[in-house]
Amino acid sequence: MAQCVQSVQEFVQDSFVPMVAVLCSEEAERVTRKNNLNFAELLRPFCRLTSEGHMRDPNNQVQVVKNLRIFVNNVVTSPNRPPTALSHAQSKILNEVVLSCQPQEGVVNNVVTAGDYDLNFSATTPWFETYRENFLQSMPASDHEFLNHYLACLLVVSSTEAVPVEQFLKLSQEQHRIQHSGEYTNPKWFIPNTLKYYVLLHDMSEGDEQRADAVYEDMKQRYGSQGCYLLKMNTRSFSAEGDEQIPDPWSQYLQRNILHTQVRTAIGDLNGVSGSLESHPLQLDITSSSGSLHTLGAVKTELKKGARDPESLAGGAGSHGACLTLNDHDHIRQFIQEFTFRGLLPHIEKNIRQLNDQSRFTKSLITSIDRILSGSFSENMVYPPEAPELQIRKMADLCFLVQHYELAYSCYHTAKKDFLSDQAMLYAAGALEMAAVSAFLQAGAPRPYPAHYMDTAIQTYRDVCKNMVLAERCVLLNAEILKSQGKYSDAATLLIKMTSEDSDLRSALLLEQAAHCFINMRNPMVRKFAFHMILAGHRFSKAGQRRHALRCYCQAMQVYKERSWSLAEDHINFTIGRQSFTLRQPEKAVIAFRQILTNDSRQTATQQSAFLREYLYVYKVTTSAQKIHLPQLPLPCIHCSATRVYFGHERRLAEGEKQAATHVSLDQEYDQDSADMWCHLEEQLVAAANRGIVPVNFQPTQCCLNSQTDNQRHPLAVVEEPIIVEVTFRNPLKVSLALSNLSLLWRFTADDAPPSKEKMTNELAITNEEILALGVGVTVYSGFFVLCCHINIHSVDLLLPTGQQTFDVMVVHGKQDLMIQGPRLNQTKEDKMTVRHGHDQRLNFIVTSPMPLMEIFFLQFPTALLCGEIRKAYVEFCNVSSVALCGLRVVSTHPDFFSFGSQATTPLTPVSPTSAENNSAYKTLATPPQSGSAAFEMLVSAEDFSQPSGVIDIPIDGSTLQPGESTQLPLWLRGPDQEGVHEINFLFYYESTGKGNKISHRVLRHTVFICASRSLSVQASACRSCVPPHHSLGDKGGGGTLIFIDVENINMSEAGMREFHIVQVSSSSQHWRLHKCINPAKDKDCKLTSRERAKLCFRATRCKPQKGTPYRINKPYLSIISSSTPCGDFFFRGCQTSESQRLDAPSSRTSCSSKSQSCVSTEDRSSDITNIVRKCNELDLNIIVIWKAYVVEDNKQLILEGQLHVALQTIGKEASSLTPREEAQEMVLLKFKSQLPPPVILPSAELSQLVKTSLHYPETYTHPFVQDSLCVVPVTLTLSNCSLAQVDVIIDLRHKGTSPETLEVHSSFTWVGQTQYKLQLKPQEVLCLTLQACFLQAGVYNLNTPRVFAKPAEQGAMCETSQQTASPSLIFINNA
């Protein structure tokens, strides 16, 4: 139960007060009427006695009566028996009382924290207290108890009366008639000889005061001084009114008064026409739950009428007691005191005494006799008024009224026993009830509160007597008492039990109190509180108390809110919405309905559509009534963070056969890796534009902003370029919504000219749960201003589900705000502790001055290429803006994929794709080659082709592109060396010719996918030719090297038969040149069909160190300038990339080989040796193989061309055009023992390559052994130093063969002359030694016996190695 203003004791005491009736003469009535009050009303504010009274109980003990209140009322007579339930008129009054008592706005509610619930509600329920007070006062008097029977009667006569005494007589007779004639059952009188108190009313403004005094004297004589009073009043005349402000004590009683008089009169009226109550027109139809506005209006007007009528009767509010001065007030107070202490209390005292004596006398006798006589009693038995049991009860009631609770309790107890033994249930219940109450009120509390008395009483009233009014009173009393004792649970049960179908108002109020009980428990039961609040709300709404119903639901909502009890939540929200709407609080209704729709509801589709319709209706009414411009709509949901902003035009993807640069579009998903890649590329471009330094304030260009991009800075938008905003909607309902007339609203702070806006209209339908992205564009014109984009959905049309038969369309307009929250901050400690979000400036643009805008188109751009294929395409740059652009650059992830040609080697010829259609990508030599054998040589510097970084300046005419201008450039493409699909990204860069722009540059992205399929595999190896270069003795170096090139057609395609022709092999080296082809099959055109393999063989010779000499050879009929574009471009590009790869590679390799290296380095010289040896073996020759492929595609023969590069690094090592697969690094066992340094292994194999030896001798030698038995043949030993270091050489001619066979063979000839030489060879020196071999007989000899040891000069002897080659050198010695 809620807290009350009164204490329990006060409340219970005030519930039962002595009743005093008033009978007024007409004249007296007139006097009081001057004050707009009748006599009873006049007295009412003064009915509480402030001073203590005293009386003696039957035992002559003095009893103090404190704070006594009496109730004065006009006598209203009615002949009927009191009903057991409240009449409809009464309940209507109660209804209005409750209705008029609403919680005040802005009253501080108290917060109850229970568990994790924080509930906010008012702890007091004044409407309940008002109801209770009114209910108790309107209790009909009944026979079984005397508490609200009249104890006394005031007979009031005016002094202006002709003969006041006569009037008194008349009134006295009237009173007697009412009480004793038996005509009227109402009012009821306590005691047969009711106290009559004679009051002479004197109007000071009218009458003669002396006369009044005289009459009063007369009265004193007649009735005794304690039975009469002269009340002087109306000191003030009407004219004096307004002079002084007199407090109006009646105002707080006024409302109640009015209602009471209404009750009384209504009872009086209605009792006359009994039976027709049910259909009385005044009875409001309050049971309708649909909540139409009419009902409410009716209630309101009814109430107002009800409130106004008595007011007008009374002549307006605030005019009560107009003729009374404060002195008069005191007179009245004195009068009441006098009456109570002198008249009433002695009267009661006397009666108690009488009854006490009587009961003591009769109890023993009559009761037993009576019981024996009457035999059986029915449940509804009625005692005659004189019955001794009733006398006890009467005495108890009297004692109770004068606060003698101890005596009252014992009397009630006695009475209870008697009634129970008589089976008089109603009487017994009454006695039980009062016994419990008086036990509770006993000051010292000698006995505990007998709660079971109350329970029995309630049960009896309700079930046996069917008297709900009494039961209710009992419950109210009991609940209040239980509450005071902290027994909230019992109180709640009690209150809930009392709810029933017969009275919604009562049920509602009691349920609400029960709810308060639950929340006030020691362990607050929040959910029970909420549930009972809902029940109360329901009953309130049934009782027509919408405001209370709404309040109850709102309070319950606090418990259900956001606890995922969505079904209940929806129900409450719906009810709140309805009630709010009917109470003309459409804002609240809209909010409540919105809750239903925004929450992910579990309602069915039909339910949702009902909710939606209701919401739309309310929404429409609200908006039309309040003229709000575009209120917020809850539906569809906008995913604010998913909003994407795109700067720029929507791109044309293709225009004819032109293919536009892909750039950025809204279709693309954001990908962090690719964003990083683009950013890196842009950095390269900016660095290239700023002489290699990236500016500090560099920020990558962002064309499309989304939730993942960095949105901390205001994005820059360019004037006259559109901004596309993509908004993502979600429809959480199972009902489809149709949206139309969507537009973006925006706000800006402009510097100058007014902006205009562009609208885009889209008709859309969002079906269930569909997520829809919608682009809405805004174009901004004019100068610098910050555009604070406030994008709202302008209007949303909503359609009801199509499944319905009635297809009524409800259209509402509204907006939704785009509020983008930045990412959660996580930097500082504060950030981590709390939830903070950064700024997201995605929609706050800064509009800058015009910038150039370029579009790029590609023509004849292939999608599939063979590996190494060269294709020519065209690229077109268009300046579509009104600003000139310059500084065109491009960077790519695959710089070796494309080339614009180099300016140094390509004459700038106007090229058009149509004319060059049949042309090969390669340029051929205009003049036919001079001779088949002669090699064409050209010096090219690598700088011509390659650029220092990956950034390539695009060679356009005049380096600027004027507005509207477009230019076309050829673009050569070379298929990647590795097969598969390659994603190739280009980033084009350009800037405005004007300076000082906020945007320094702009970029354009392009991404292509190239599918590369296998073409040829070229494997090349080089080996030192053993043959001395006798054919070209002119070459001093004599470092002839043979180059073997294996070409294999590895194309897998079955469809178009591909035949590859090797067109040309070129070389590029600083030291080497390719000589002529020494193919075994010389004349044959090198043709390769599928899976075929060809071997080409070239001789390379060392030439003087020159820089960059791509070298062309072979194929007389067609000679391609391999040094120019595009061949050279790609060659050098390829070199660059492969070099960079090589640079990368060692870093990974060192890690695993470091150990062995460190071992070697223990001896410095060995590393020296290896160096020397490596130098010696270094080749550094690049080979370019140019091929043609014949492909049949769509019955057309196509000739494709391409080139493959092979870089030969060292002699004897095979190199391939196909980059080898990365070998998985071998797992190295982890060794903890320190390894013994392995013995120094001399790279003998490599050292053996230091010196090249060859023997020159005549193949056959004829010698006449007959004449001369010794045949001496001169043999020349040529030693050539291959290395670039001095080499010590030791030649030992002595036979040292260990094997028997060599012995055998060698024994047949000997070297003569010097057999051991020690020489030193300068770098690259060729030395000829003339040796002499001596043969004894004819035969075949192997001359290759000299052993040559070589070591680099200034090295230890240990590293001498045999330089002997294994191949035998045979000589035929013939006998002549």
Binding site: G115, F518, N523, M525, V526, R527, K528, A530, F531, I534, Y560, R563, S564, W565, L567, A568, H571
Partner: protein, 139 residues
Amino acid sequence: MAVCIAVIAKENYPLYIRSVPTQNELKFHYTVHTSLDVVEEKISAVGKSLGDQRELYLGLLYPTEDYKVYGYVTNSKVKFVIVVDSSNTSLRDNEIRSMFRKLHNSFTDVMCNPFHNPGDQIQSKAFDGIVSGMMVQTG
């Protein structure tokens, strides 16, 4: 048999509520929600005396005019609530107990599902089946 079976999370939001389709679902939601107060009261009352070794079955939480509400709390404070028609007098305490035990076992299975995210609504066919078996079969 039961007319409504509910599983409530530790934080007192519903993980699963199923009621007899013929009756007002909302009513059961309210009933189950309100019963949580009693459940909490019972837990706190028992918790003090016995600690962890308390009986999981809480017995009759409260009777309403039409229904009897029974409660069961797992050790992880997940609540099971079974609402039974008051007119069904044949149902004994033991049977309610066994119903709860069955429910608990099935719930444990659901929680063991590695794809189930604890705290989510229960969407398990097996659990549905068990619950259906305990519900009143209406035509």
